[in-house]
Assembly symmetry: none
Homo-oligomer: 244 residues x 2
Amino acid sequence: MESDRLCIVLVATRNPLNIGAAARAMANFGFQRLRLVHPFDTAFREARSAVGASALLATAEEFPSVAEAVADCTLVIGTTAVGHRQLQHPLQSLKDGAPLILQELSAPASAPNRVALLFGSEKFGLSNEDLSHCHWLMHIPTSEAQPSMNLGQAVAVCLYELTRETASAIPSTAPTLAPSAEVERVSTTLLDTLQASEYIGAESPDSKQASIRRMVRRMHLSSEDASTWLGILRQILWKLRAKN
Amino acid sequence: MESDRLCIVLVATRNPLNIGAAARAMANFGFQRLRLVHPFDTAFREARSAVGASALLATAEEFPSVAEAVADCTLVIGTTAVGHRQLQHPLQSLKDGAPLILQELSAPASAPNRVALLFGSEKFGLSNEDLSHCHWLMHIPTSEAQPSMNLGQAVAVCLYELTRETASAIPSTAPTLAPSAEVERVSTTLLDTLQASEYIGAESPDSKQASIRRMVRRMHLSSEDASTWLGILRQILWKLRAKN
């Protein structure tokens, strides 16, 4: 397992102490790559809770959107406390999801797959828009009476599970998946095509677009197939527009 | 496993927020019995970090010594970040120690064994005197560079491991794949579209068609997605042909 390939992405975190706690857990379990999407309090780099993880906080990267934070990632997973909304994604328990993540992290060095693990804000979790960038969702099984975990504790539990079996990493046999930026280009071009062909209206609701994005995610495109699809869609789009 | 038989014992905890965080993790994983040995700040019962665990904090028991806190326990385990002192006890990793704890907790009801899991102070861990009450020690495997975990995070990780095997498995939500006939309809319609858009010529070689078919197979379409794609392609095809 290449721990450097896992990005912990904290989205819209309100409390800088929780960012520090997440960084500390990362240092405890040997992970380095912390990414933040518009944190509420920008003074997080001084969080006192980041015991032994100040270097990690100093190199944390900030992004204006989830799309940009996961652009170089081939697998994007959202964490959820389940049940607070209708889930439209495949869902895995942490125990069952961890091997899938490790498989992606263990791909040959010639194909450095990168995985993003997303954690939402303390109060609201991940939004539907955030979730539309995810391949599947992961859930830590908790009591029905108190399902919602503290952010730093949830990060610690996930990273513990990911390193629990370190000795027996599963060698990957799956093809390299396309990075999110390529998948996003396919989605965007498909949406343009759907409008040009009047499959959807020019002012289609966000939910419709999100549903198309999820469908494209479910294709698990390789880089090569993503590029083929892009060629197909651009040709169709060109043809459709040429006639108008 | 009788979760009511496990006592989480926090010894000489300095920060009441950590007591609250431990209580929250207990509520998350379905444990109730919190014991405190001379906490530094006695105002811990109001700790704001105990989200959803105020009842648990209210019923937490206070003891003047470790001996009294574990008096009714048949198995006493100390947690340690190892290496900060010469260990004179048997040591188990969390993964290997958890089954031993669960075994003790699952004894017949006629012999209600009780287990104490001890966590030391944030700065110094458990003292040698504290450890002298323990049967063995347990360790969460962490990075050598940063072995020391936050108290609330350590409690969360331990309780996660203890419930890992029994937590209600989430039913897999992987969608059913579309039957071959439906996938074939998508392939055929896509090929028609590729011709209509002149992405491929009317007399394209079989090998080209076969390669497109394989690509569609690789999409692992669910029935629902196959039907959506069919709708999309038919609309595009209709638009393309309407203009010719």
